[in-house]
């Protein structure tokens, strides 16, 4: 409800064009607030909002956030970026949950020379060959290898089946990296018994699942939107498939457990941050403020939203300028930034190298298992 109002005001108030002359600076946010990834976008927005509440000023000017809903739709995401830059005159952009959505905005931010910082889009292509796109999270080659290692070492898996959402760059990419790593670990080219496809929006996976039942894999890796995962696991259990399911960071949404219920017990997934992992200095302020404001524990997406905002503020301060190109140059030099989710140093691609956290669903909640450091 509140979000709707925010969107409404963001979209309808006429703004003075002479942004630079005013005493506010505007940072744009494009996230999926509705559609298939609504939970991800809304959790991220909570973190961004909180960061702005605690740190609402930079170089003596007040920060104003402009949120645009990209509706979990690639076309909307591309339009959102154009609107933020052309109409809202933002100096930097935060977003988006969902690699495909971020990639849709990539060409625009590069062409208009306004820097964008992704909170959780993990596909390597988001920042590749794009000097204006950065991110505060790790990337999928690492995430895929983390889950392959977990499957191989902790679960003793020697065979796997992977399930892909063909319309989702994140799902396709992460599956490929998992497959590479898993084959390397097992030393067996045939370790991945089957690769199944489905289409964005599908809710019935019984045909794919029936086909893999006879393969009898040790593990099923199916990263993709959280509700797809939950429905898929329900249907798999209904069909009598007992193999453990593994996923990626997108599954860390309360909806995943609400929808999946008993069926998703024991499911393991990789993510960026856990309140139970070793806390950083910056995390304490964040966790306390988040709990006070939202009355629940923060998860990875809120934390990454917070970090993305703070990294932009840090870059504006170091650049000592509100010029998007100057902010971009300062962002590229981000090193050793102490964020909630760990230390953030951006490499030549604009990617952060960080540790991953593995969570498991236990008794209807995400429980922290372990932290995996990058090699």
């Amino acid at each position: 409800m509140l979000i709707g109002l925010l969107l409404f005001t963001a979209g309808c108030t006429p703004k003075p064009a002479e942004q630079a002359a005013s005493d506010v600076i505007r940072i744009g946010v494009f996230e999926p607030m509705t559609g298939d990834s609504a939970a991800g976008g809304q959790m991220t927005w909570e973190g961004i909002e909180l960061a702005k509440e605690l740190h609402g000023e930079v170089l003596g000017k007040e920060v104003e956030l402009v949120l645009v809903d990209n509706k979990t739709d690639k076309n909307e995401a591309a339009n959102a970026a154009i609107r933020l830059i052309e109409k809202e005159k933002v100096v930097a952009i935060i977003g988006s949950y969902g690699s495909s959505l971020s990639m849709a905005a990539g060409p625009t931010v590069m062409e208009k020379k306004v820097p964008a910082v992704g909170c959780s889009p993990t596909n390597p292509l988001v920042t590749k060959d794009n000097p204006y796109y950065f991110r505060v999270c790790f990337i999928d080659p690492f995430q895929g290898s983390v889950m392959a290692q977990y499957a191989y070492e902790d679960l003793g898996a020697r065979t796997a089946v992977i399930v892909r959402n063909v319309a989702d760059a994140y799902s396709v990419g992460l599956n490929n990296f998992f497959k590479e790593a898993f084959i390397k670990l097992t030393g067996d080219d045939k370790a991945v018994l089957a690769e199944l496809d489905y289409q964005q929006g599908d809710q019935d996976f019984t045909a794919q699942l029936t086909s893999i039942k006879k393969e009898n894999p040790d593990v099923i890796f199916a990263p993709g939107p959280y509700n797809d995962g939950a429905l898929m696991i329900i249907q798999a259990r209904d069909l009598g498939i007992t193999a453990p399911f593994l996923g990626g960071d997108t599954w860390e949404a309360p909806e995943f457990i609400q929808i999946g219920g008993q069926n998703v017990e024991g499911v393991a997934l990789s993510t960026h941050y856990s309140i139970d992992a070793a806390p950083t200095e910056a995390a304490k302020e964040f966790v306390d403020a988040y709990k006070a404001k939202f009355n629940k524990d923060p998860n990875a997406f809120a934390a990454l939203g917070y970090d993305a905002y703070m990294v932009i503020l840090d870059a504006i301060e170091r650049a000592n300028s509100y010029e998007p190109t100057a902010i971009r140059d300062a962002l590229a030099e981000t090193a050793g930034f102490k964020g909630v989710t760990g230390t953030i140093t951006l490499d030549d691609n604009g990617d952060a190298t960080k540790s991953a956290v593995i969570l498991q669903v236990q008794d209807g909640a995400f429980k922290y298992l372990t932290t995996v450091e990058p090699n």
Partner: protein, 297 residues
């Protein structure tokens, strides 16, 4: 592919197909009587699931009661939509009413987003529906036989209603020729309202079954089922109730078997439905069971 596996695919297909059929019946019946494709039909599915959801969550109603409440509220909504958005356009060109229907569909979706929020909610599945039976190596959750049963019973009830009751006779008369029916002292407005009562309650039952089978609900959930079941109705012959059931099964079983036999084409599952629609329109525009209708001059 072993026989067991094939039977499992078939069970999956029948379960999905009967769900499509259930929703397609409502589409086709409304079209048959007033020549209107009610594009809000899919969104009424969504309304029904949310009413049931909140009935169980906020008022702690037992599920049968919550389901009945959902059917009642959805029916009321369907009738209201007809009164507000379609009746004033009764004499307008057909395209105008169609545009109005699309408008209603968008209105419901966006109202849903504002009122319920964009995030999915988990639909409660009563233990009875979640129970699983094993027949040999084929697993049959209760829903797999329950949905076809519901579809079949409602189909029989509807056919009885249309062909064995006074109101059904009036409905068929209105379908044949609205103006003449009016001259014969049939209260056309009342008949059309009743048509929407039946159509909306079918949509509500379809929505509840959808929620049980895929227990995640969101304000945009009605869009794709709405489209797919519309296709099922066209494939079966729009306006023909038995045809809608047939179309639903063709679509459901077809989708499952497509993925089963051509796993590489799984990404084209929705495309399959649309290709089927195009071919139907090209080869047999009146659908599988539709009759050749001479244009009235």
């Amino acid at each position: 592919m072993t026989l067991t596996e094939f039977l499992q695919h078939l069970a999956n297909g029948v379960s999905l197909g009967s769900l499509y059929a259930l929703i397609a019946i409502g589409y086709t019946m409304v079209y048959g009587i007033i020549r209107l494709v009610n594009f809000a039909h899919g969104d009424l599915l969504m309304v029904a699931t949310y009413v049931a959801f909140y009935g169980m969550i906020l008022f702690s109603l037992p599920w049968p009661l919550a389901f009945l409440l959902a059917v009642a509220v959805t029916t009321l909504m369907g009738v209201t939509i007809e009164r507000v958005a379609y009746r004033p356009l009764r004499d307008a060109p057909r395209i105008t009413v169609l545009i109005s229907a699309i408008g209603v569909s968008f209105l419901l979706q966006n109202l849903g987003l504002v009122v319920f929020g964009g995030r999915s909610k988990a639909f409660y599945v009563p233990p009875f529906f979640a129970a699983i039976n094993h027949i040999g190596d084929t697993t049959v959750p209760n829903l797999v036989w329950f949905i076809p049963l519901v579809t079949a019973s409602l189909l029989l009830v509807l056919i009885h209603l249309l062909y064995r009751t006074r109101i059904g006779m009036a409905m068929r008369a209105v379908a044949r020729d609205l103006d003449t029916a009016r001259l014969m002292a049939i209260d056309v407005d009342q008949v059309i309202s009743f048509t929407f009562v039946v159509g909306s309650s079918l949509a509500a039952v379809g929505g509840l079954m959808w929620g049980l089978k895929f227990p995640q609900i969101n304000p945009l959930m009605g869009a794709m089922p709405g489209l797919k079941c519309f296709i099922a109705a066209v494939v079966g012959g729009i306006g023909n109730v038995a045809g809608a059931v047939m179309g639903g099964f063709v679509l459901g079983v077809g989708e499952i078997l497509l993925v089963a036999f051509f796993p590489d084409l799984a990404g084209y599952r929705d495309a399959f439905a649309f290709i089927l629609l195009i071919f139907t329109l090209l080869i047999r525009p009146t659908g599988l069971l539709g009759e050749r209708v001479a244009e009235k001059v």
